[in-house]
Each structure stands twice: as structure tokens, then as C-alpha cells.
Subunit: 172 residues, 2 copies
DNA sequence: CCTATCATGTAATCCGTTACATGATTAT
DNA sequence: ATAATCATGTAACGGATTACATGATAGG
């Protein structure tokens, strides 16, 4: 078993490891492609990040890096033994860091923005997101993907509810 | 009117500006104190960030920096004309960048974690957060604070619902 | 053939986190 | 007095975003 002295991996690292676990040997571009139909809907990663993170993980021995001989000389990454192990350990640990809401719209609301004005924009945005999620739901996706999608749908429904109610407060 | 060539301000910048707008001249420590009873519940900022951000904003002329003569020689910041203007422009623009869900628990769920195990932990966490929010609701807070709090309560309720339902799927 | 767009990266910058450090107050 | 904790920072580091750049492929 290999002992790495490097800093703990980030969520981005695990996203890359997890995608490789699912897809098998891939180029960073392929990872990006795969993530665009699913993961990126609730956790986007710029393509440069994927390139850099892949290189980083290879450097600490969690990925193996092969390069095409001719043509584009693309780099193809695959999980090593320790890479797969690191991923599985993370995946099978049910405890997670709590996430903060950190919604810029709420920040404005808290700092004195006009609720009605904000709400108009927010309702539109969240309704649109909700619609796109519902559309995705109709397509054929993995069980895990569907579960995550359900979470997103619930969240957006709640957002729409919150901002709508804020814009038209019922008398109490 | 002053023309600043610096990069656009971050949300953290506006949080500092907004707190100063509400509190008047303050030390970074006072800003932190004020934020702890409200803002930090959905948008935490490490104290070092507040010190650094204040210094940054002073450097570009959005804050004025005074320093105590004796004793601790604390730095006291206050909004300049252009500082207040920058804040108001931001606050009164109802459009905001949509925020991503980016929930580490959802990332695990998507990448193949066991739903039941995850759900147990998540329900507990979110229920606890929800309870603390409900307790805060009973206290006397500002209207803006209350609105933001309502959002948080709605979010946590939805999370509890989602993970609970995931752990005990009803037959369909 | 030419030019869009796809594919594939490199580099600079900067925010945010973490680690560290130390002077003032307060409690015992 | 002395310990504990509050208050107030500095500095290192690294991930993430942004800007830039260029080789392949396909469409016209």
C-alpha cells in the first residue's frame, strides 16, 4: 500500500476519480463530456480544472497517464489500484462536510435589497431550472443520476415556493 | 467620480461593504461579531478574510482606514462615498448569478454511494440545522434577517424531506 | 481551400483556507 | 500573578477562475 504525503483530496479530485471509475480509461475531454450530461447540472467544473486535476492525481500515483503516440498525442488517464481504493474509501464513508447555502440572492436579500425586485428575477430563474430538470427526468438516466436529479427538483421547487411567497406575502 | 481599474468585487467584498453600511465605522472584529448573528448562518466568512478584504477595499478607495493612536491601534474602517455607491449599485441590481447546489452529499450519491447510508447521516444533520433555525426564528431579528432565515428553513425542510424519502422509498 | 468550431491544453492571477503568532483582558 | 481566552492580525499555500493560444476536423 502506497503512502502519500500529499494534502487531502478535494471534491473535485473525487469527481474525477469517480468519473474514471465509471467510464474506464478516458481523456480529460471525455470526462468533461460525460459530466455534462448529469454531474454538471449540480456541480460544474471548468474544463481546465479537469485537465489540471487529472495531471495532479497522476503525479501522486492515483491515476496512470498514457499518451497517444501519433496525431493529437492525447493523454489517457486510468485509475491505479490506489486510485480506485481512495475513491472507494471516500464513496463508502457516509459522513460529508456540511454545505452552506451561500446563495448570492440571499446575500442581497439579507443586506437590504428590495425583496420584490429580487423575487421577480429569482422566480424566473429557478422556474426555468426546474423546468429543465423535469425535462431531464423524462430521459433515460442512471439510478444514481435520477436520485441526484430528484434532489435538484426538490430544491428548485422549494426556491420557487420561497421567492413566490416573498413576492406576494399572504396576510397573517 | 472615481474610476477604479481593479477587478470586479467579490461577494465577500459586498458582504463587508454591506455590513459597514449597516453598522457604521467598525473594526474587522466588530464586523465579524455582527455577522455571526445572522449572515454567517448561510454565508460564513473566516475572520482572516474580513481583515484582508477590508484592507483590499481600503486600498482601492472604497473604505477609509483609520487607526487608533494608542493601545491596540485597531483599524477602523468606514465607507467612502464611492464605497457606498458601489454597494448600492450592487444591492439595487436584482439580477444575480444563479448558485449551484454543489452539495458534497449529492456528489457522493451521484457517484455511486449507498443511498441508505448517506441518508441516515444527512437526515440527522439537516434536521439539526433546521431545529437551530427554528430556534433563531423565535428571537427578535431584523426583517431582512427573518426573510433570509425563512429561506434557510425552507431549504432544510426540503433536504429533510428528500433524504427521508430516499431512505424509505414508498412503493409506486 | 478556407474558416468556424471542436479539442486540448498552458500560464497568470487571485481568492480563500490554514497555520501560526502575539498583544490585551478577564477570571481565579 | 498567571492562566485562559479574547482580539487582531501576518504569511504560506493551493485550488479555481480567467485569459490566452494553437492544432485538428468538418462544412462550405
Amino acid at each position: 500500500m502506497v503512502w502519500t504525503m500529499s494534502r487531502p483530496l478535494t471534491d473535485t479530485s473525487y469527481a474525477v476519480l469517480g468519473l474514471l471509475d465509471r467510464l474506464g480509461p478516458s481523456t480529460p475531454y471525455q470526462l468533461k463530456q460525460a459530466a455534462q450530461s448529469g454531474l454538471f447540472y449540480f456541480w460544474s467544473i471548468p474544463h481546465t480544472q479537469i485537465y489540471m486535476e487529472s495531471a495532479r492525481l497522476a503525479k501522486v500515483g492515483l491515476l496512470e497517464e498514457d499518451q497517444e503516440a501519433g496525431g493529437r498525442r492525447r493523454r489517457i488517464y486510468s485509475l491505479t489500484e490506489s486510485g480506485r481504493e481512495a475513491f472507494v474509501v471516500w464513496r463508502d464513508d457516509p459522513s460529508t462536510k456540511p454545505r452552506e447555502i451561500r446563495d448570492p440572492a440571499l446575500l442581497k436579500l439579507f443586506l437590504g435589497s428590495d425583496p420584490i425586485g429580487l423575487a421577480g428575477d429569482q422566480v424566473r430563474r429557478h422556474q426555468q431550472l426546474l423546468d429543465s430538470y423535469l425535462q431531464l427526468e423524462a430521459e433515460d438516466i442512471s439510478a444514481a443520476g435520477r436520485r441526484a436529479l430528484e434532489a435538484g427538483i426538490g430544491q428548485e421547487r422549494e426556491y420557487v415556493r420561497f421567492w413566490t411567497q416573498l413576492a406576494q406575502p399572504i396576510e397573517e
